[in-house]
């Protein structure tokens, strides 16, 4: 964005910024070879396996990607329901 855009408080991203953001997003999926559909399957199976051993809040489970330099991280956030109230555990 040019100096003048900033001065006028305009927040129009340049096509370069748009390109960069789109690339970063698409590459997260390309690199991990994981489609949104596969992500859902992973989530369902994780819930099934874990709830065989621990009582968890199925609705609260979140699976996301975080991007590193060349490696990406699959992060599962699984709220555990226990006798002493719900507690959050984070597994990566």
């Amino acid at each position: 964005m040019s100096f003048w855009d900033k001065l006028r408080g305009r927040q129009i991203p340049s096509s370069r910024e748009i390109a960069k953001e789109r690339l970063q997003l698409v590459l997260v999926h390309d690199r991990a070879n994981i489609s949104p559909g596969l992500l859902q399957t992973l989530k369902d199976e994780l819930i099934a396996v874990i709830s065989r051993h621990i009582e968890i809040d199925r609705e609260g489970v979140e699976i996301t990607f975080t991007q590193g330099k060349r490696y990406n991280r699959l992060v599962a956030n699984i709220p555990v329901l226990g006798a002493r109230g719900s507690r959050k555990t984070r597994r990566t």
Binding site: R16, K20, L23, D30, R31
Partner: protein, 264 residues
């Protein structure tokens, strides 16, 4: 010293693999190295015309693989540089005429007689690409600063790593400084940040490349002009010299137009 076998590849087509192979061959030969450029794009032979050697082609790489001729007989000697040779692709056959093992065998035969073997890969990730990277010691990936080309380059980087041929080095081609300036083109840093590999060269968009291809005289032979300089710089970096990356001049303004008028 045995030759270094370097493959130039990209994933996406038309981003400058053949142009880069021809010019790096010329630039290394200008530095006194013995160089063979290999056209691995079987069925779509092009390196011969880009180097201006199409009239000298007698045999091709498929003839060598099939034992029709010896390697020596298929090598085309450059018109201008004494230590530059081309191993042409076959034009009337397809990629399956050569296997990755054949490529390794042919390239290994050149190991002791030359300093560099530069392989021009076809686009894509199929057999032609597999053939081109099989003999490689090192891989250069070329991309343009565009979303689709960078995405494909990323895929290739992954494949090269998986083959144990990494880490590849990156050439960014066809940068247009005036577009970068107005925020309409990814810049060098954006591309490196996204791909996270080492840069070995940036080549500006330059009409001289099209003119030079028309004539069959690679731009690296011309000591004026930015694209030629960019390729000669890459050759120096391949030899381990620490050459600073050039700042690509914006020639679109009034002064730039004037400079171009004076130069042409």
């Amino acid at each position: 010293m045995p030759a270094r076998i370097i493959t130039i590849t990209s994933g996406k087509g038309g981003v400058g693999k053949t142009t880069a192979t021809a010019n790096l061959g010329v630039a290394l030969a200008l530095l006194g190295r013995r160089v063979v450029t290999v056209d691995a794009d079987i069925g779509l032979r092009n390196l011969d015309v880009v180097m201006g050697l199409e009239n000298r082609v007698v045999y091709d790489i498929v003839n060598v693989v099939e034992g029709v001729c010896r390697l020596r007989q298929a090598l085309v000697k450059d018109k201008r540089l004494a230590e530059l040779y081309l191993l042409p692709a076959a034009q009337t056959r397809d990629k399956s005429a050569v296997s990755p093992e054949d490529m390794v065998q042919v390239c290994e035969q050149m190991r002791n007689d030359y300093d560099f073997v530069l392989i021009d890969s076809p686009a894509g990730i199929e057999q032609g690409f597999r053939n081109a990277i099989a003999p490689a010691d090192e891989v250069l990936i070329i991309t343009t600063p565009e979303v689709s080309a960078v995405r494909d380059a990323d895929r290739i980087i992954g494949l090269i790593e998986a083959e144990g041929k990494g880490p590849a080095k990156l050439i960014i081609n066809r940068i247009k400084p005036e577009m970068v300036k107005r925020g309409d083109m990814l810049d060098t840093n954006d591309v490196i940040e996204i791909l996270a590999i080492d840069l070995i060269g940036i080549v500006p968009e330059d009409e001289a490349i099209i003119i030079s291809t028309n004539k069959g005289v690679p731009v690296a032979l011309d000591d004026k002009g930015q694209a030629g300089l960019a390729f000669r710089n890459i050759a120096h970096r391949l030899l381990g010299e620490d050459v600073p990356f050039m700042t690509i001049k914006d020639t679109s303004g009034f002064l730039g137009r004037f400079a171009r008028l004076v130069r042409s």
